[in-house]
């Protein structure tokens, strides 16, 4: 497949008012830092933008109306790539990956090619009554599940993710616990991902994990292994909401004010390569959402003979402040 030069600036750059924040690359230069790729250890596979939910913080603008889904030929190319490179971690995401019709095939083929297979779930797609077999498959292959669970409070969860999602999520977590997920000694990891339910930064990960662990156990009898607390990325539907609510500049300034030069060395884009539903490579899922391909030009996964080159520069934009605010984004 021919390499295509990036012909247009990402559309997100035009959304919203002009920000007063210093461009990210200039902020890096101020500290004499350059963002370059390290050894790539993780392959992230975005199997599509189709989702049963339309979360207000979604940086990909995924939702029920999106039809983009990874097709079998691209899926084959991804599996071939994972076979050639043998990444330590393969991370399946979406949209709702449950809704890609080829998802079981992908899990079965990727599982033997990596030591850690991750599956990101919004919980409601997994618990829609049609995916019990997928739950069993995840269990059989000892796939690590990363479940979106923003708050231990129904109104905040539902305002971010949709009406009724909190109850469905609790029910899904209980089912996963019944399969052994999140239970001590089972080896089946169930990790929660919590994003703030608005234009503010996330609380301390350690404190949040302690609180969620206690409340989920005491109130609903739910168990999990780890919790990751991530800031929302000002892209996609979340950026549109920031613009509409007149919060964009304030939010970007807040992220930029939290710039931590020490976090730059450990941002995920240095060790991860993300493949979109149509097989194009990106430095991370956020550059994928922004339409900024790896190296600034579209390269198809089938063209890759090995991992991305160490030392290659990473294209940045203002959303990169999300990953360098405070202690960083892993």
């Amino acid at each position: 497949m021919p390499q295509t030069t990036l012909s247009k600036k990402s559309e997100y750059l035009n959304a919203g008012s002009f920000s007063r924040v210093t461009p990210f690359n200039l902020e890096l230069a101020r500290y004499d830092l350059k963002l370059k790729r390290d050894k790539t250890t993780t392959l992230q596979v975005n199997v599509g933008l189709h989702c049963n939910q339309a979360c207000r913080h979604c940086h990909l603008n995924a939702g029920p109306g999106r039809v983009e889904n990874m097709q079998p030929d691209t899926l084959d190319a991804v599996v071939d790539y994972a076979s050639r490179v043998r990444f330590g971690t393969v991370d399946i995401t979406g949209g709702a990956p449950e809704l890609n019709p080829h998802i079981t095939d992908l899990i079965e083929r990727l599982s033997p090619l990596t030591s850690t297979l991750l599956f990101r779930s919004n919980l409601s797609a997994l618990n829609d009554g049609k995916h019990d077999q997928l739950m069993s498959l995840l269990t059989d292959h000892r796939v690590v599940v990363l479940a979106s669970f923003p708050a231990i409070n129904a109104s905040q969860t539902n305002s971010q993710r949709g009406s009724g999602i909190f109850d469905v999520s609790i029910d899904a977590l209980r089912k996963m616990n019944a399969l052994g997920y999140g239970r001590q000694g089972s080896g089946l990891q169930l990790n929660l991902v919590s994003n703030p339910t608005g234009a503010f930064l996330p609380p301390s990960q350690d404190q949040t994990e302690k609180r969620f662990r206690k409340v989920l156990k005491d109130k609903w009898g739910v168990f999990f292994n780890n919790l990751y607390s991530f800031a929302n990325v000002p892209l996609g539907r979340f950026r549109q909401w920031l613009v509409r609510s007149n919060n964009l500049d304030m939010y970007l300034e807040k992220l930029a004010a939290g710039f931590n030069p020490c976090a730059v060395s450990s941002v995920m884009c240095r060790t991860l390569v993300s493949v979109s539903w149509d097989g194009i490579l990106f430095d991370c899922d956020f550059n994928l959402a922004a339409g900024i391909p790896m190296g600034g030009r579209k390269i198809h996964v089938s063209e890759m003979t090995g991992p991305p080159g160490e030392g290659a520069p990473i294209v940045t934009a203002d959303h990169c402040y999300t990953c360098t605010a405070g202690s960083g984004f892993t």
């Binding site: 109104s155 905040q156 301390s204 404190q207």
Partner: protein, 110 residues
């Protein structure tokens, strides 16, 4: 419209140290130490601060501590409960003085 309270002034708080930097440093160091994790969590301290901010009706404090409560992981239901605690104490402080009224009234009345 001109107003004594401007949201952007909150960001200028540090400027009060210009004429008395040593006192300002002592205050801000103390302030940071008060809000650090202790036997009470940072989240709990932010909820107390939010309640006090409403009791003293300080717009700057309400703005700052609403944000800090959200960023420490509290939700609007918890924050509303905290404000009701402040309201109950303020209301109770008025009402309990009714005992003085009763004492004086009883003393003066037949």
């Amino acid at each position: 419209m001109e107003t004594y309270y401007k949201p952007e002034d909150l960001l200028k708080f540090g400027e009060v140290g210009k004429e008395a930097p040593e006192l300002a440093k002592k205050f801000f160091d103390y302030y940071a130490a008060v809000f650090a994790e202790g036997d009470l969590s940072e989240r709990e301290k932010s909820l107390i601060a939010l309640a006090v901010a409403h009791a003293i009706q300080c717009p700057y404090c309400i703005d700052a501590h609403t944000q800090s409560c959200l960023e420490k992981g509290s939700n609007p239901a918890e924050m509303t409960e905290a404000i009701h605690v402040a309201t109950a104490i303020r209301g109770g402080a008025s009402l309990v003085h009714g005992v003085q009224m009763r004492n004086i009234s009883e003393k003066l009345s037949m």
